[in-house]
């Protein structure tokens, strides 16, 4: 009940933010030097042809009419046609979206899988070698640019050891899963896994390091609180004290920071994709910017903005779950 009301309010706020995003993205075209028509029209186009093209694309209407048209079309999920590919921008974008989502999710899984145990071990064995190792790793992890890490992984694992492929995606998770379920062949999943492993480590390392750090510091702070002594005095097993009570309270600041860092994850995905030639939204947006493909640029930015808003709502809901006192007033 409380959660539903909160979600409704948060969604309303989210819609406002998305509207702001759409407006900014729309205005972006008007602060860019050079007219859009110059990028679309052939170099030797006659003034009449340019005029017709401008009319076709609706570029000669007043800005507020273009803005209203843009919003109305967006509401029907119409982002216009990609100037380069001649197909609806939304088709191009949604075809690329699964690759980026897979990468982001895989990276998050890598991060959570390694960081929380590492942080807990580090905090419970303070000033032991394992703690120094974990602290050192997290310091280096948050200080390493992920594109360079990706290149070093390509150099060591791909080029020198020749263990893993270093670029492209070959097969998506969906088709790979179909192959496994309907035909019983594991090759799809295997190829998928081989290709996503290095990119997800590249993207996930910063977060692994960050969450390790937060878990360690949070646990240390919580372990010093008086309620820990009380639960211990109650005779609860040490493992239960640490993992249930202390870790649960430690999760709250971790989730907050993760929510705030989601932008870093998406931005990191863009550059990771570019390092590994991963056919996702990131490589798409860079191509689109370089060729001034406005419908594609605007569409991808809006999809990213909406994704970001949605993730943040989910993070807030999680936050609420872990910390029932929060009211968000």
């Amino acid at each position: 009940m409380r959660l539903t009301r909160f979600l409704l309010r948060r969604t309303a706020q989210g819609i406002l933010v998305v509207w702001g995003v759409i407006t900014l993205v729309f205005l972006l075209r008007f602060i860019t030097p050079g007219s859009t028509i110059d990028f679309v029209a052939p170099l030797d186009a006659s003034p009449e042809l340019r005029q017709r093209l401008a009319e076709d694309l609706g570029l000669n209407k007043p800005i507020y009419v273009q803005y209203a048209d843009y919003i109305v079309n967006l509401l029907q999920l119409d982002m216009g046609n990609s100037l380069l590919k001649g197909r609806p921008a939304s088709d191009v974008i949604f075809a690329r979206l699964p690759a980026t989502l897979e990468l982001a999710i895989a990276a998050t899984i890598v991060a959570i899988l390694f960081s929380i145990p590492l942080g807990v071990i580090s905090a419970t064995r303070r000033h032991q070698p394992v703690d120094y190792g974990a602290t050192g790793f997290s310091l280096i992890g948050i200080s390493t640019p992920n594109f360079w890490l990706g290149i070093m992984l390509i150099l060591i694992v791909g080029v020198n050891l020749g263990w893993l492929p270093t670029s492209r995606r070959i097969i998506g998770f969906g088709p790979a899963l179909e192959l496994l379920v309907f035909e019983g062949r594991t090759i799809g999943i295997q190829v998928w896994f081989e290709h996503i492993l290095l990119p997800s480590i590249t993207l996930g390392t910063y977060f692994t390091a960050l969450i390790t750090r937060l878990t360690r510091n949070g646990m240390l702070e919580e372990l010093g609180q008086s309620y820990v002594e009380v639960t211990r005095a109650k005779g609860l097993p040490e493992t239960l004290v640490k993992y249930k009570h202390v870790l649960r309270n430690t999760m709250i600041p971790i989730i907050t920071v993760l929510g705030l860092q989601m932008g870093t994850l998406i931005g990191g995905a863009v550059i990771t994709e570019s390092v590994f030639n991963w056919p996702g939204l990131g490589t798409l947006i860079i191509d689109a910017i370089n060729s001034r493909d406005w419908p594609l640029i605007q569409g991808s930015l809006i999809v990213i903005g909406v994704g970001f808003v949605v993730i943040n709502i989910v993070v807030d809901a999680l936050y609420m779950y872990f910390n029932p006192q929060v009211t968000f007033e």
């Binding site: 706020q13 406002l16 933010v17 998305v18 702001g20 995003v21 900014l24 972006l28 602060i31 860019t32 030097p33 310091l139 280096i140 948050i142 200080s143 390493t144 640019p145 594109f147 360079w148 290149i151 070093m152 390509i154 150099l155 080029v159 937060l214 510091n217 949070g218 709250i252 600041p253 971790i254 907050t256 920071v257 705030l260 989601m262 932008g263 870093t264 994850l265 998406i266 931005g267 990191g268 863009v270 550059i271 570019s274 390092v275 947006i285 860079i286 910017i289 370089n290 001034r292 640029i297 930015l301 990213i304 903005g305 970001f308 808003v309 807030d316 936050y319 929060v326 968000f328």
Partner: protein, 336 residues
């Protein structure tokens, strides 16, 4: 704000923490490298010598196969190149000295990092203090705008803006070369203006949030209420009471932001958006296609970034441990 107390706790923490000392040493080293690059460099970092291309760092050898005409016949010969002290970190595919490029790359990173942070802090703190101090509609409007800004991932927004606006590089004359103290070195250092402005634009929001939080709490303090009732103007109150109280958390945030912005700059240069070729990120991108043969071209500038950012992060930890501000987005805190 009691500066003496701040200073004392900084010194005490510094004495306690070996990591803080390491951080200061690393940062000092990078600063000295950047400032005195013209004296420390052995070769002009832009000078090309194609006959010396792709040489390995000193102590390493590189073996490549080459097809040559020997006695009128094509033969495959194995060529072994040994790294020399002349190019201690090797050369890139244009035969440029990686060591000298590393020194000059530090200039670009620090210039953009410091200037970008300064602009972001100035803009963010002004907006944050005004929003927190006045509250109400001003606050609502400014903070909703901040939310929209936060909905764009910084790197994506930066790429979009720079890709569309162009890099707009500005040449800053090198004082040492201008004074005639060194010759054969680049006469100017390039400041990528769009990159600097854009990294500031995508990061000011963090400063605004911290400053706003401080302003909100200071506003309710009795001494502020008292001076207001004595007729102090809003401007005076903001400058004399709100601003000084926000300085500690802003200082800690600014330190971390320098690291964030240096990483962002290197990513933008890596993607080829920065407008200068003397940048660590740009050099990493240059070595990318040569990984199979010349690993050092991408490796060296990356190590430079890691060392610099580790230094800044260690100093950031030192400041935070010593001053203990509660910063949202760094150590957790309220959800605003």
């Amino acid at each position: 704000m009691n500066w003496q107390r701040v200073w004392r706790s900084l010194r005490a923490e510094f004495g306690r923490s070996p990591m803080a000392k390491l951080g200061v040493v690393l940062i000092l080293a990078v600063f000295l490298m950047a400032i005195f690059a013209p004296f420390l460099a052995t070769t002009n970092p832009k000078a090309q010598d194609l006959s010396r291309a792709n040489e390995p760092p000193v102590g390493f050898t590189d073996t490549t196969e080459d097809t040559r005409l020997v006695d009128g016949e094509r033969q495959t010969v194995t060529v072994t190149t040994r790294g020399t002290l002349e190019y201690p970190l090797g050369t890139n595919q244009l035969g440029q000295d990686m060591y000298s490029r590393l020194l000059y790359g530090a200039r670009t990173s620090l210039l953009v990092g410091l200037l970008g942070t300064a602009i972001a802090a100035l803009a963010g703190v002004s907006v944050g203090i005004v929003a927190g101090y006045y509250g109400g509609r001003v606050d609502d409007g400014l903070m909703r705008f901040a939310d929209v800004m936060l909905a764009f991932p910084a790197l994506v927004l930066a790429i979009a803006l720079i890709g569309l606006l162009g890099p707009q590089p500005v040449d800053i004359p090198d004082p040492f070369v201008a004074a005639g103290l060194v010759s054969d070195m680049p006469e100017t250092t390039v400041l990528p203006v769009t990159v600097t402005l854009v990294v500031a634009l995508v990061n000011w929001v963090w400063f605004a949030r911290v400053a706003r939080g401080e302003a909100l709490s200071v506003r309710e303090k009795n001494y502020v209420k008292a001076s207001r009732s004595l007729g102090a103007s809003d401007w005076r109150l903001m400058l004399k009471h709100v601003l000084p109280n926000s300085l500690t958390p802003i200082l800690v945030l600014a330190t971390v932001q320098v690291a964030v912005i240096i990483l962002l700059e290197s990513a933008l240069s890596f993607l080829g958006f920065s407008g200068t070729t003397l940048s660590w990120g740009f050099d990493i991108s240059q070595g990318r296609d040569l990984l199979a043969t010349s690993w050092w071209i991408s490796t060296m500038p990356g190590l430079a970034i890691v060392v610099t950012v580790i230094g800044i992060n260690l100093v950031g930890d030192w400041l935070r441990d010593a001053l203990d501000p509660d910063i949202e987005g760094e150590s957790g805190g309220g959800m605003g």
